[in-house]
Amino acid sequence: MKDEITREERVDNLKGMGCSRKRVEDARFTQGKGNYVDDIKLDGMLFGDFVRSPYAHARIKSIDTAAALEVPGVLAVLTAADLEPLGLHWMPTLAGDKQMVLADGKVLFQGQEVAYVVAEDRYAAADGIELVEVEYEELPVIVNPFESLKSDVVLREDLVAEDGSIPDGAHGPRKHPNHIFTWDAGDKDPTEEVIANAEVVAEETMYYHRTHPCPLETCGCVASMDKVNGKLTLWGTFQAPHAIRTVVSLISGIEEHNIRVISPDIGGGFGNKVGAYPGYVCSVVASIVTGKPVKWIEDRMDNLMTTAFARDYHMTGKISATKEGKITGLHCHVTADHGGFDACADPTKFPAGFMNICTGSYDIPTAYLEVEGVYTNKAPGGVSYRCSFRVTEAVYFIERMIEVLAIELNMDAAELRRINFIKKEQFPYTAALGWEYDSGDYHTAWDKALKTVGYDGLRTEQAQRVEDFKAGKTRKLMGIGLSFFTEIVGAGPVKNCDILGLGMFDSCEIRIHPTGSAIARLGTISQGQGHATTFAQILASEIGLPADSITIEEGDTDTAPYGLGTYGSRSTPVAGAATAMAGRKIRAKAQMIAAYLLEVHDNDVEFDVDRFVVKGAPEKFKTMKEIAFAAYNQAIPGIEPGLEAVSYYDPPNMTYPFGAYVCVMDIDVDTGVTEIRRFYALDDCGTRINPMIIEGQVHGGLTEALAVALGQEIAYDDMGNVKTGTLMDFFLPTAWEVPNYETDFTVTPSPHHPIGAKGVGESPHVGGVPCFSNAVQDAFRPFGNRHTNMPHDHWRIWRTANELGLHD
């Protein structure tokens, strides 16, 4: 048989890896036919909503629900007293702590869930909430972790023994009632010794402020207990549906096979939707009690005040170097504000996430990190907002320390980075704090970035601007922000990483249909990343069937294989690998079938794009389509019918994407207004599956980075009131505030990943925040600025200028 199309055309027809395949998700989204949790409507569905605490710290003296129950349409009001007999008034957190589902005697943060009103519609629920009378006795409020560690005020009486002693926590000894853990990594004494004897030492204290992932869709769920069949179905905004099923089973006692968790379309996650929240538990209980489906959807204020926060790290660093700028040691101490409950979403062994990636992209021989977790009267959370666990904090820390060291050395910060990068030939590289970086080529990326932006020219222009400013010719300064980041993503090896004891592998199950199309199901769940598009591309390249003929399904625990979900850029590194591995199992069986059909030995056929060909005789082949049909319909001796495969992939290591970013910013010193003139982002995420989607991820991550660096924060006053509860004050940039970005790339494949991919969704956020911040700081460097904390909103920039005497 003669081939009617060229090999190149056959490759194109697959729409496999490396092509900018258009997204299959978009048809429904552009026509308003997405199916998000709040779109779900079931017969007799009820609505639940919370009475929330107006106080940050108070004892609850009484709760009177009588008036609320009088409201037409209100069916029930749940309090902790109702949940206690079920053992559900508290729930375990992802961090080994426990959290009140409904206030049990006291509240620990403003907005905390106090009672749950169940009603026939949202309107009755809202009216009911207004009529629940709660009597509070206010207690002293602590919003500062340093004060918390010195305070006599005990926030968590449940964690102090009757004799006043302090039992160990989930992560070891606690030294104060408000202390959660102390966790360290690296070598303390040698590091301190190196720093004490160093030629040059730079020290800095920085606060990475509290913020929030704030996806456009808030969290919510619909719980439906089918009492006839004994099955619970729970739809919700879950970034980890399988883990939610296990957690629901463990805390409710319902056997796991009787629970079906479904993540429908998710309107953005960014870490907000990893955790388990009181709304889920209360909705399940309410459905069991009423026998009807119950929907709970948080409003935007609830979202910003209660479900999840990110960052809130007070970091102190010391970095030492030779006079020539070779870094010799790094010391980092963190005081981490975890709020009222420790609900951080980190792997069990890492209560401070992967903060110990804080040596960054640099060959630093000696380092030590110590993190103290502290309770305060703020909301619980500590999620990874568009980053792997605490990696944003780590990269911000090192990229600021590098800048501060450059100032100390009176050296160009780009050059300082260059002379300290881990060299290409040093990979795999074991960092001083323990991680083994799989691969990298930092110098190539850095040189490309600096050359593309014309770095030297920018510095010349900046110097001229400083002259002009001093001469009174302009009131605008120019900042050049640099950042070089190394991420650590793809958690992860089960030997290192579990959450609540659940190993962090992931999975893919493939079923090839007789006519040569396929369905693949994964343990992850897309929240906008385009999994249905990209995972089909991986498979297309692996199994030689067109991506357009492959359906990808995720998020239904009754049908998808078990997996730990999507966050920490783990989908491509872990589930993407599982997909490739499952595809290879398909291919191995297909090879045997092809050999049988072609009447040659298994070893005499080889895979070629979309077919197996006889080695040396490419005109003799069987396409994967033909093989699929034969697999089901032809009796082949020694081979069972069908063509299916499953892979559970436990990665041998994390992946380490990296990148080089440059931001050019103009700053009006009189108003604090910033203008981003240029932003260049070079990302190396290893093998590139879909360049269009990668670029989109970079644009989005940079925009979230811009927000965090330039204004987005969850701020509290001294009474623990949230000052940034609506989108008037919580900064989400519009199209007007956002620049165009230039994207670029190098490709350094991961050596251990089946297709060499590393993940990209979070890199631009991780690398972007220090880049924007460094641009602001750099503008003021010629006037004596060393460090100023984010967010760099107008007034804080103005304050920096003012303190430097630029308004005199």
């Binding site: 552009t30 026509q31 996806p215 869709e217 953005g268 989108l727």
Partner: protein
């Protein structure tokens, strides 16, 4: 609860009549009463634009309008812009230029863009960014949204020229 009102709406060309409390927000009328779930709820304080629909020729955030105010109005949502066999050029362009990711802001974004292009068929990038500033997207960073709207504008202008 206050007394219910008799409300008439025309939604995507279809007449609807029902009884509703005046405080019912138009976004809930659309989503829960009429099962038109394209428009979404993002912020509830008229900042994000996920709930944008067109009412009597104006782009409106339907979370900030009582159904009583809309009584008698003509409402167009994303569902009224095209059908699977005949998509609006903006729907095509958003697909073609990766103008969306999670899709949650998309219905409001596209609905707003139809009005923008109606008022200004040849917008500059700056005009697009200014004219779309009532709609927040958390995923795309807007760059491809701008590109999508530019592409749709060209497409629509070309089609108009061809028709003339």
């Amino acid at each position: 609860m206050s007394k219910k009102m008799h409300i008439k709406l025309n939604v995507n060309g279809k007449d609807e009549e029902f009884l509703a409390e005046p405080r019912e927000l138009l976004i809930y009328t659309l989503r829960e009463r009429l099962n038109i779930t394209g428009p979404h709820i993002g912020c509830e304080t008229s900042h994000c634009g996920a709930c944008t629909v067109t009412i009597n020729g104006k782009s409106v955030k339907s979370c900030t309008m009582f159904v009583a105010q809309a009584d008698g109005a003509a409402v167009t949502t994303i569902e009224g812009l095209g059908d699977p066999d005949n998509l609006h050029p903006l729907q095509e362009a958003f697909k073609e230029h990766h103008g969306l990711q999670c899709g949650y802001c998309t219905p409001g974004m596209i609905t707003r863009a139809t009005k923008l292009l109606e008022e200004n068929p040849n917008p500059t990038e700056e005009e697009i960014r200014f004219g779309m500033a009532g709609n927040i997207c958390r995923c795309t960073g807007y760059q491809n949204i701008v590109k999508s709207i530019q592409a749709a504008a060209s497409e629509m202008n070309a089609a108009k020229e061809a028709a003339e």
